[in-house]
Symmetry: C2
Subunit: 337 residues, 2 copies
């Protein structure tokens, strides 16, 4: 990939501005305790979040939770950043398929690669989650963990979204970034728990969300320790290790965090079990779903969508009183200005 | 298990005293910066540790490492607590085998269970690491994650070591506990990376070492998300998911931490690859092996031991100049008074 100095510099500025944003949000939280979520309208979701945070952090309150147990988990695709017209990791995989195609002549006739190379995304994605994961894993293996990290960093610094023309990490929901900072300012430890690849997220989420690599849970392929010329490397194998989606999310949470979250944030049926697992614990709990209903500022989709379908989880939210955010009505802004 | 009030209370006091110890060590570190490791003799290992910590934390130093990258990983068995005459988790497994034997008549003739039930530990352990892992996994499954956590907590609060008569969490190496606190006081994030079961460690390591569950990496069995009477549970399956030992340690580190440690601490050949992986990174690095050479205050064993064998890793340490701690010569004390 051709990384010219100006793209590096641009990536650097974006990193800085994400950091500046977080610092600003933090400073704002402290300065104006009465309005820690300024990018949220004064509607029910904002009130529900603040009420929850205040009761679990007030010492002596029956709902008080000690800081080490203030675990909050966030889905990534569709919850922290956009996911249309397909998961951004698929955009990355498509670029990888193109780059690797000369080394894989068999892809010309092998689905879903053949369709991807023809530019027919619809057919390529028709195989559903498993086909998606197959493409992702096949294009993410055969190299070392270190090499893969560099490829992801290069991609995030240069690739742009086909519709908005923005860099992908400029398609982060600003009210959610503000919420992450607000929770951390109140002693929460924030985790990503995503169906996306764990090694695809780690290279950029620390700058983007203030979430370090060790607080990222995701899908993974197997890796193998090897000595190459006397130097140890971790080689990424073309074999799925774990899919961190649906029933996998509580399993991933248990494996990586080892503690049940007290708050969980998602946007699709892939998050339903994470929210159920979170809400089934003792004491004060909070569950939130982001509803994509803003066709003007973002995309509008829910029950019928192939990507980020919100159907069963929405029904459960309505029955159980989980908070549902309307992006249209509850957020003042969506993407960075 | 019969948990009488006095054992609960005793467990509570031990928890408090571990906390008090940590607080004391921290306060001491700040008050007497010239001697942050008071339980260590003024020999080479202590000097090497302090030199390393000072150079990576001094801003402007060419070896400076920002706090978010100050990752330190510690083996558990034989590095943070004792492991003789066998891994303490095996003691736990033995108690579980006895408790579960009535439900498993087939164990009477099936190795390694038959030998364990006859009290013939030597034969039971003759199968090596894999046999050990099999016993551990078989006795650790068939229940929910929550039930298992309670069983471990009960055991740690009541079981005693056959030789010393101490509770197992009173067999923690005090100089290492002091070292953990010293590193954290210097902005390090401390992790356990152990061949032991991740769910066996998590219920007690936070009190014992100040290391929260999300900073524990270990071997695991598979778990499955299930709904039972409308309540979500995680069921522990009798199937090994991951063995976090030898070549597995760098894999476990990559999976759970996603960042290469800058310092790693172990005591056996099971830690060799973790130390190699740590030392192969750029910039200042630190690797340490604890050598068990104190038959009077603890145990003396190395190249020929079945448990915690230190042979190849020792040779590599000698060649590469990794720090090797003599428990006899370098530590003022070993267990709590």
């Amino acid at each position: 990939m051709d990384i010219r100095p100006w793209t590096r510099l641009r990536g650097f500025h974006r990193g800085i501005s994400a950091f500046a944003f977080t610092a600003l949000a933090l400073a704002t939280s402290f300065a104006r305790a009465q309005d820690p979520l300024q990018l949220w309208n004064d509607t029910a979701p904002k009130k529900a979040i603040i009420t929850f945070v205040e009761k679990v952090t007030r010492e002596g309150s029956p709902d008080f939770v000690p800081p080490n147990e203030r675990i909050a988990t966030f889905d990534n695709d569709g919850t922290l950043w956009a996911e249309q017209p397909m998961y951004f990791q698929m955009m990355f995989a498509l670029d990888r398929v193109k780059a690797l195609a000369p080394q894989h002549p068999e892809w010309k006739t092998k689905e879903p690669f053949a369709s991807l190379l023809r530019g027919d995304l619809k057919t390529a994605l028709a195989g559903g989650d498993h086909a998606i994961m197959e493409i992702v894993m096949a294009t993410h293996s055969g190299i070392t963990a270190e090499e893969f990290e560099k490829i992801v960093k290069d991609w995030i610094a240069t690739a742009k979204h086909p519709k908005t023309g923005r860099y992908y990490n400029e398609m982060i929901y600003q009210p959610m970034a503000e919420l992450l900072a607000y929770l951390r300012a109140n002693g929460f430890k924030t985790f990503i728990v995503s169906g996306g690849g764990i090694e695809f997220m780690r290279p950029w989420v620390e700058k983007a969300y203030g979430i370090p690599p060790e607080q990222v849970v995701g899908s993974s392929i197997e890796t193998k320790f090897e000595m190459r010329d006397g130097k140890p490397v971790l080689v990424r194998l073309p074999k799925i290790d774990f899919i961190d989606d649906k029933e996998g999310k509580p399993v991933g949470i248990n494996s990586h965090i080892g503690r049940r979250p007290i708050a969980a944030f998602g946007n699709s049926d892939g998050d339903q079990q994470m929210l159920e697992w979170t809400m089934a614990g003792k004491g004060a709990r909070f569950a939130l779903l982001v509803h994509h209903d803003d066709a003007e500022r973002e995309w509008a989709y829910d029950r019928k969508s192939n990507v980020g379908r919100l159907d069963k989880a929405w029904d459960e939210a309505l029955v159980k009183g989980w908070t549902v955010v309307s992006m249209k009505d509850d957020w003042k802004t969506i993407f960075p200005k």
